[in-house]
Symmetry: D2
Subunit: 133 residues, 4 copies
């Protein structure tokens, strides 16, 4: 990822720690991809009927992570209220997806890897919210 | 939009009023398109330098509305906490974009139309949050 | 949708017929929402195992339609090569999804409604490609 | 990124080389983030009026890369026609964005970094299209 390199080139001042911000964006992007892949892997399992809720939380989490990564990648006209609300919603999606994937982690390796990505992302979102306070 | 027709075909029970839900989804989708178009129209204005913040809030609002419409279009494994958090974040984005667009509404017709879409969407998100309580 | 109203406010010249363009964007947005809803409805069917491919084509089609609607909503720095390539890819996604949904249309009403949206969208993309020639 | 790890867990056969596929997805995701960041950095430049087209190609390229990464992350019900069409449209977007960013690369470091990401992504899309033939 070129996230940190792009942040260094930003031509105006920023109120957020750039190293932390780059790390959070990268974690979001990683989580989104893992969730999209996990939803599809669940869909290919024989026992897909037991994975309906997992697929749904994967799809929601991927959408939230993508949108949050985009909002965080924009610094012009920065709005702390919006950033916080989006990070909080994303953390809820990540927690729900991690909880659901962990229930299947013993049986499905893709759920195990995805749960890791979601937990890391939940923590990253919370860390950035705390740093903004 | 086929939103209401699709909701009628959903093969399981739902806890939300379908008429309200369809209306909110349609309002989100309309707002997203207006914001994408407004960002581009701002970009084509001679005075684009005065519209930087407007373009940014347009882009954020479009992303939030798209994601919120997707989350609301999924009913399997419904999660009220996530739905509420996403609606609240989206309402913040809509309010910020409406506020910014209204500042330019007298001069730029696209900002006037977009502000209307954002205000309607902010109200729709709040109405659904209230109905879920 | 405010698509036509927003197109009228665009502050520069455009090479495309605005009425046609607004209609295609609205059709794309409608198709995207129908596909997201159909994927979720399929996920809630008892026979979800028979609908795996349908869910996948729904998800692909929703993503393509969203992206195509966004590209078409931007007129600044218009690039006919890109517009054509995106419309052609979107038409392929719509056709694949319509074909798949039609196979289940007799049994699942959501697939019947979604197939209609996809066929309309495939035709709209083709009409715009032809108008650009 | 957990892309390669997630591909290893996919529970069915795949017709594509997994190492190549993981690399292309990672390149797409990296390019999307760089384009979103470049659009915002351009927006913050004093000479934003000279960067309108660059912002537009950045936004298009980000949307195409996100959608292409999602389509490539799904293997269930694989459709070679769709994959090829999406990759070709994405390569057009990447080339257009690289061309535009390179024009400003001497003056704006964010355009230089973004152009690199777009060229790499254009090549990755072409490599995967060739591998599928």
């Amino acid at each position: 990822m070129k996230t940190a390199a792009m942040l260094e080139t930003y031509p105006a001042t920023m109120n957020v720690d750039r190293e932390l911000l780059a790390r959070v964006i990268d974690t979001l992007v990683e989580c989104s991809q893992a969730c999209t892949a996990c939803a599809d892997a669940c869909l290919s399992e024989e026992m897909v009927a037991d994975l309906r809720k997992c697929i749904r939380t994967d799809l929601d989490c991927a959408d939230l992570c993508d949108t949050t990564a985009r909002v965080l990648s924009r610094h012009t006209g920065y709005d702390a209220n919006l950033t916080r609300a989006v990070l909080e919603a994303c953390a809820v999606a990540c927690r729900a997806c991690a909880d659901e994937c962990e229930r299947h982690a013993g049986m499905h390796e893709h759920c195990r890897v995805c749960a890791e990505a979601c937990r890391a992302c939940e923590a990253a979102c919370a860390e950035l919210v705390a740093a903004m306070a």
